[in-house]
Symmetry: C2
Subunit: 353 residues, 2 copies
Amino acid sequence: MPDTLKNDLYLRALMREPTERTPVWVMRQAGRYLPEYLATRKRAGDFMTLCSTPELACEVTLQPLDRFNLDAAILFSDILTIPDAMGLGLRFEAGEGPIFDKPVRSRADIEALPVPDPSDELRYVTDAVSLIRRELNGRVPLIGFSGSPWTLAVYMVEGRGTKDFAKVKGLMFSEPDLMHQLLAKTTDAVIAYLNAQVAAGAQSLMVFDTWGGVLSPAAYREFSLAYMQRIVDGLTPEADGRRVPVVLFTKNGGAWLDAMADTGCDGLGVDWTTDLHDARKRTGDRVALQGNLDPSVLYGSPESIRTEVRRVLDSYGDGPGHVFNLGHGIHQHVNPDHLAVMVDAVREFSQKD
Amino acid sequence: MPDTLKNDLYLRALMREPTERTPVWVMRQAGRYLPEYLATRKRAGDFMTLCSTPELACEVTLQPLDRFNLDAAILFSDILTIPDAMGLGLRFEAGEGPIFDKPVRSRADIEALPVPDPSDELRYVTDAVSLIRRELNGRVPLIGFSGSPWTLAVYMVEGRGTKDFAKVKGLMFSEPDLMHQLLAKTTDAVIAYLNAQVAAGAQSLMVFDTWGGVLSPAAYREFSLAYMQRIVDGLTPEADGRRVPVVLFTKNGGAWLDAMADTGCDGLGVDWTTDLHDARKRTGDRVALQGNLDPSVLYGSPESIRTEVRRVLDSYGDGPGHVFNLGHGIHQHVNPDHLAVMVDAVREFSQKD
């Protein structure tokens, strides 16, 4: 790639190298809380058209960078692109969230699942990555991502949103071998998908394990973490002569941060229910930590936002390896001006003299 | 009370006294997964009539005891009885859950809130407790309960179910003093309510902190745990010449079990995301532990249910102080026969020779 990275704070922080201030980006920074996003989405017609049209995905990816002083861009896409490419028939219904018309339930369903070719069915994603990387022109690094195998399997088996995980846990407890077969296949797809994103220009990767935190410690290790380990082992380690750092994020996974760090990943996402000081102690400073302001702090007053930003920075303490972020995606009804208060406070409070 | 307790395993386990086997009961054991419950509820007409008619509340409280070998009964009621008695206008809408017509948002709202008199507006609850206690006739102990002040405040401020806790956290972050005023008043109401349940015959108490786990560690200590501490300090310690043990349960509160044990409570509920061995180590065996089978295990095969029951018993290990339970309420769509498999497995595997 011919571009020179003008701001590499994010990549350096993930490598635990010293930085002149704490880099900051925000999960779901391109999203429904931004009026400009809503306008593009309206133009696209529906959500999947927005995801699958590289020009539109690029447009919304860049929107938050034009508004806020952010230190990374993240590919605008959906975590369900892989099961969609496997032929499960993804659609979105208002008020319902994602629905798969052909959920995966039986041995035959699982055996019939193809591992999608990222250069074919998922070409629209890698095209978006290339385009965004070109348009960024070295402004900040570009993060690629995927859902974790367990998280994808939850959606694939349930077929729609769930509160009790009846079908996927029923399968997991009653037929663990079958569950492992599904997870192994999904893992192969995730590795190919993430490596294709790197080949197309992604400079860092993140694995979102949205549903790992609904498992018991033993089930988490066996059905989620083991497959994230395979992913970490299977990823392209470098691009453009530079490490492509990998961040794992298990929502409600605070208890397992040490085990997650053992995978050899570069960074861990931490939600706001774990104190960063504690997380740092438990991971023995082996990995960078990303987080962890409660997203609902942004519903508070500007003054309280600044107080809570300072609290998060203080909880991490001195030394390298912190990427500021929310502890989960930004909420839909947040006032964008409140995010600006947060981003500016991070820059102000973390600036080294 | 003239009754002699024929089965006091539950009370002894909470006092960490040796028991001949591990007692077992199930959160929401009287509930929608039971056809006999659905029949009574249909007869009642609506949910609040069921809660507020002592004869009906007694009937559904006893139903699971007639079906399963359980070691405790828990008062059938709702955690929102207190805000309802405060005049917030509770109603239930199909598919929506509880709604308060008059949510609490301002200083004036909070100052106007009365602390309900348990012998007046909440008389139907203590009447139900007395009736159930009489009907139990010493079969097993009766557990009374309340929501935690933070959990009640979430509903009181939001007015309905929420995913992002926008209003209650907005208040908490922006106007912490006001939030404390609301919590202090709610705590007074909870203490009076629980003590009235003890006076009416409850032999053990449980505080459900359903929403404590959505807070940061600092916010949890300040806005939830501090008020549960006041409750523990304010409760009637004994009835019928016997300790009335108190159990605190914060869902997703696994990281804070040691701080919860410091309150001086007798037992802690543990959800399935924390290993009981680990929980026991961290609480230094100062409290009994209640839990922690993943409720979704009951969606698996009978064989896998037995395997997972054994895993939970093994994770607690030897020694007194374990009450077997699910890690959260039983799910609505569980086959009741699967709960029988679980209960029988606990008895079989934990029986001392």
